[in-house]
């Protein structure tokens, strides 16, 4: 791609980003609709190209290399597409059953270990160590996991010790949610800050960034005040 086209891609990218950010203004406007539909169309096109390329590279090239059994992947794939046909959609049940059966086997054979047994093993560990901090961590984790699990027992009436452990679990869970909220905010802020950093590096992008932000904000206000935003937007 020549330099001018690269430059144009960057500038259009910056402007379309702020067109999308006008969502935050809270009122519909055509800039936002343009940005939304641009993403829908272009991203769907990309996913089509990439998926077909994957099918070509894996199945077609495999068949050409002598792996004849992969012909079934093409046959099943075409049968799957028949799901859209009102009369022959029942044909898609066969590949659907096959893929669901395979997927079930893949997830069940490993999830039992990684999400269940290994996690329980890691919780029920020898609590006492010579390092006081490690002891504190292990006790806290063991007590938290067990009491929080107790809180989610809905199939029996909680009374006596179970009731108290579930109450403790509830309080510990809220502490955990507080920590998770903070980490989630860090993640989302990181997404935004990272993108803003790319819009200001190298520094020649900064004037385009500020100008796009200002133009889109003014446009959003004008569209709102004149009532054109509702008329010209998609929804």
């Amino acid at each position: 791609m020549n330099e001018f086209l690269q430059f144009a891609a960057v500038v259009v990218g910056i402007f379309i980003s702020f067109a999308m950010y006008t969502t935050l203004y809270g009122k519909p406007n055509p800039l936002r609709s343009w940005a939304e539909f641009s993403y829908l169309g272009a991203a769907t096109g990309v996913s089509i190209v990439i998926s077909i390329t994957y099918i070509w590279n894996t199945a077609i090239l495999g068949i050409q290399a002598g792996d004849w059994i992969l012909i079934f992947s093409i046959i099943f794939g075409l049968m799957m597409i028949l799901r859209m046909h009102p009369e022959y959609s029942y044909i898609s049940r066969l590949p659907l059953a096959f893929t669901v059966g395979t997927g079930l086997a893949l997830s069940l054979r490993t999830q039992i270990f990684t999400s269940f047994i290994i996690q329980i093993n890691a919780t029920i560990v020898k609590l006492w160590t010579n390092v006081p901090l490690e002891f504190l961590y292990r006790v806290t984790i063991a007590v938290s996991v067990i009491t929080i699990l107790t809180f989610f027992l809905y199939t029996m009436e909680l009374s006596g010790p179970l009731l108290w452990t579930s109450r403790v679990g509830e309080y510990l869970m809220y502490i955990g949610f507080g920590a998770i909220f903070a980490q989630t905010f860090m993640g989302r802020l990181g997404l935004f800050v990272g993108y803003m950093e790319s819009l200001t590096t190298p520094t020649w992008k900064t004037p385009y960034t500020l100008a796009s932000a200002l133009i889109c904000l003014i446009a959003a206000i004008i569209f709102d005040r004149t009532g054109l935003g509702e008329k010209l937007s998609a929804g």
């Binding site: 935050l24 203004y25 809270g26 991203a43 990309v46 996913s47 190209v49 990439i50 998926s51 390329t53 994957y54 590279n57 894996t58 090239l61 495999g62 290399a65 792996d67 893929t99 395979t102 997927g103 893949l106 997830s107 490993t110 999830q111 270990f113 990684t114 290994i118 996690q119 093993n121 890691a122 984790i141 920590a179 998770i180 980490q183 989630t184 905010f185 860090m186 993640g187 989302r188 802020l189 990181g190 997404l191 935004f192 800050v193 990272g194 993108y195 803003m196 950093e197 790319s198 200001t200 590096t201 900064t206 960034t209 932000a213």
Partner: protein, 287 residues
Amino acid sequence: MADESGIYKKMATYDKRWVYVVLFITTLGPLISPIGMPIGISAMTKNYYAELDTLQEGDIVFDTWNMEFSGYMELKSGVLATHKMFIEKGVKLCIAFGHYEGVALPKEIFGKLKTWLDNYDYTEGEDYIIIGYVFPNEAAVAALAQDFHANVRVDWKGESIEGTFLDEIQNAGDFDMISDYTTGLATTYIINHMVLQYGVPMVENSIGVSVPGHLANLDAGLLQALLASTRGGAELEFLISSPGPGLKAMDAFTLGHYSLIIFIIIGNIGHYGWTRRSGARDRTGIK
């Protein structure tokens, strides 16, 4: 009392768009005009650095980019710093995407690493191979883990991978390490079908949202190290003495967090000063 109610009422019922404006200014301001605030290094990042430091020249790392372009924006500090370490050490990389947007990433990432690629003579085809989007679903991950060459015959440009360093890879167990950068796409599948089944050590660079879940995996021994979000990447940049987008973003990070804290405090003051009292006035009729 009426004046106080006015201030408290404003604190409890301000327009949320002021939050957006303040967040925007506190983020963009330091990026345009950096302040240069100090940063501490966490134990988790030191552990991540130590794990990468165990790699030797010629080791083959499965570099899985399980991120969309948006996730890359959060993880790029860690991605770039980690790849600088890989290039310095002369590690061979097999790069796979977990999302179709991954096709835009190599140009972006290796564009920023150009100086390092030139200095260490690190070239595509010899030192790193991009096999492209190969993780559309769990079955693809499991199939690739079991028989690499039956599922990957060409790189992302359609050129055959025969005769490259990937000839040594028969299944996932032949990789020396898995280095994953994730927004959550195929990571669970990689842990289930590569780490669990073949015992390959795995390090993770994760977005903030996924960190609590990955902490559980780290504690359980399924992951060897974890780098958390932009902050972790900035710390790694500091450790390898190569400032990049992460350290540049830390000022904005700090001010963004502080502005949220201030808004929460304001909201709580408004809540106790007006909302609760207005509820009491409505219930009791006492003005």
